[in-house]
Point group: C2
Chain length 385, copies 2
Amino acid sequence: MMKDKKYLLIPGPTPVPPRVVEAMSRPIIGHRSAEFQTVMERVTGKLKKVFQTENHVFIQGSSGTGALEAAVVNLVNTGDKVLALSCGKFGERFAELARIYGGEVDFVDFGWGYDIDLNVVKKKLEADPAIKVVFATQNETSTGIQNDIEGLGKLVAQHDAVLVVDAVSGLAAIDLKTDEWHVDVVVSGSQKAFMLPPGLAFISVSEKAWKKIEQNTTPKYYFDLLKAKKNIAKWNTTYTTPVSMVFGLEAALDMILEEGLENVFARHKLLAKATRAAIQGLGLELLAPDECASMAVTAVQAPMVVDADTLRKVLLRDYGVTFAGGQDAMKGKIFRIAHMGYADKFDVITAIAALEMALGKVGYKAELGAGVREAQMVFVGGEHA
Amino acid sequence: MMKDKKYLLIPGPTPVPPRVVEAMSRPIIGHRSAEFQTVMERVTGKLKKVFQTENHVFIQGSSGTGALEAAVVNLVNTGDKVLALSCGKFGERFAELARIYGGEVDFVDFGWGYDIDLNVVKKKLEADPAIKVVFATQNETSTGIQNDIEGLGKLVAQHDAVLVVDAVSGLAAIDLKTDEWHVDVVVSGSQKAFMLPPGLAFISVSEKAWKKIEQNTTPKYYFDLLKAKKNIAKWNTTYTTPVSMVFGLEAALDMILEEGLENVFARHKLLAKATRAAIQGLGLELLAPDECASMAVTAVQAPMVVDADTLRKVLLRDYGVTFAGGQDAMKGKIFRIAHMGYADKFDVITAIAALEMALGKVGYKAELGAGVREAQMVFVGGEHA
């Protein structure tokens, strides 16, 4: 096997398109130059289109977790009541962050493999008008579940609380109409559907959220959004921004906007559908039910004969294909195939073909080509539909 | 004039060598893969050589300011006495951070254009044994002053306090023997002498500092060093690390170590000497006295006939050359020429030649070539010495 041909199919970091790599290779310019200010203005404008918002979207040098922290330290004061809606690892992370910064957290655990139940949220909000912030995850990467953010947004909008959505792994893959759905704070990151390396995070903030941020007294510095807001007109950035990454971001945003947001979402939906059909064609169990299955990543339960991580090792060793494993309690029990960002039909075909061959090696009886055929049928149907 | 030929001579971000750009363009790999763990171990080993330490050096996705914040939130508890030694903007930033996180800050301002007076520090430390942390800046970028970190390290080592040094713009340009000089925490960033784009920060931590960090209760998450320490063996990283930047970092470290640390420092010293000789040859005033002049960046006072920022505009407009301006109170009064990182003799020659021509345009009488000749004399002498 060639040594360099590798297939990275994990839910972030994801492969970077050549056009983005090229943009990131441009000569460095000063982050306080008029030239970079123009770039930042232009990029922010494009970013707002992808966020589907008129709110300002901040660009921050950090991982997605750094942006979750920014949301928390700007909104949560010691003793504030917050509602943390969790379906997996990243829902738990939001709750942990809120707790660390003094929030009185009502942690609602819907369970790994389940989505947020809006009826529960409705009752919680009605029962306690003091709830100040509601934290939710758009696409729970750990389980391949996506939540009904539209429904959640409409619910929270009726209350004083602001809705903060972790869209790190879902934005630009799954529709999220920030303004129309009343999502006050949307957080995302560069290394998922945005097709960039890790290193940038994005945060949009609504007027309703600014009112709470203005009253916040939690100590902060690097993640201070009010300070960042004051610097928009002057520099569009508070500290030294990763300029190369911003060049790459513009190329990625151009690719997304040229394809068209609706087409980007449709492509992700098609890839998810094909992946799920293929998995079922191989007789394997999907973790997420159809109605809340992620369009960005598919979680699959390991067959009885083999541990998921053993299967992943065979895939990497013999075929150069990397799937993600399960996290925490799901470790060894599931594997996850990403189809987000710079992903197309033949990435799914590659994933399924490799999986079929690896399954054979670990003693699971699967007809070679059976999963691939199911995926092809979706593609043929999907294209003609 | 060609549109693409630009000369960036600011103290960060600095130009990135082609070898580093190439490394950063490699295909993305998973940040939790065995392959990346190997890369991180190798890179950390090389980073330790540049830090001249046996302490672990953490790699964090943020600007340098994010790493200053990491030092503060891990070391400073509410009410802790800290000594903040300041010679300019970045000394002030450290103090501000310590204040925000509840430190009882003794802010010692040596003034913009001056270095730290060790006698003052000695008296302060002797007068108050409760001082827990001493913050200092190795290379004060805002004024082009470098401090005697060796002397400071020996002083602080005699006390219970730990010494935290902001070496963001100085490390890998100016000698800093972390272990030998007893510097407990050294903070640096990617976009200065490390020759990378902005986006990574580095922090080394001594045993003496870990003892204080273990007792720290300041809320933190993204910048939590104790958590990062626990993750060294497992993944070498807590959150998603900018993998492309780490590839670039290895290439940059290889360049530094192949050249040899002593040679890297000597090169910076030579470039600084040539720049200073040229400036004086043009009859302009240097901000920093010889004995504490930075080897990484030279601050020059604007001549009476022109505001520094007007001069900088002419340099950029007519010659594509970018110098840095003065910050805060120094705005318009000084300009700064960087000679750090991927910088060699002809970057200095370019800077001075452009300056001579721009000075003529704004009405300052300078003989063309007079500064260039002074720099050349240093280079000829320097090479033969």
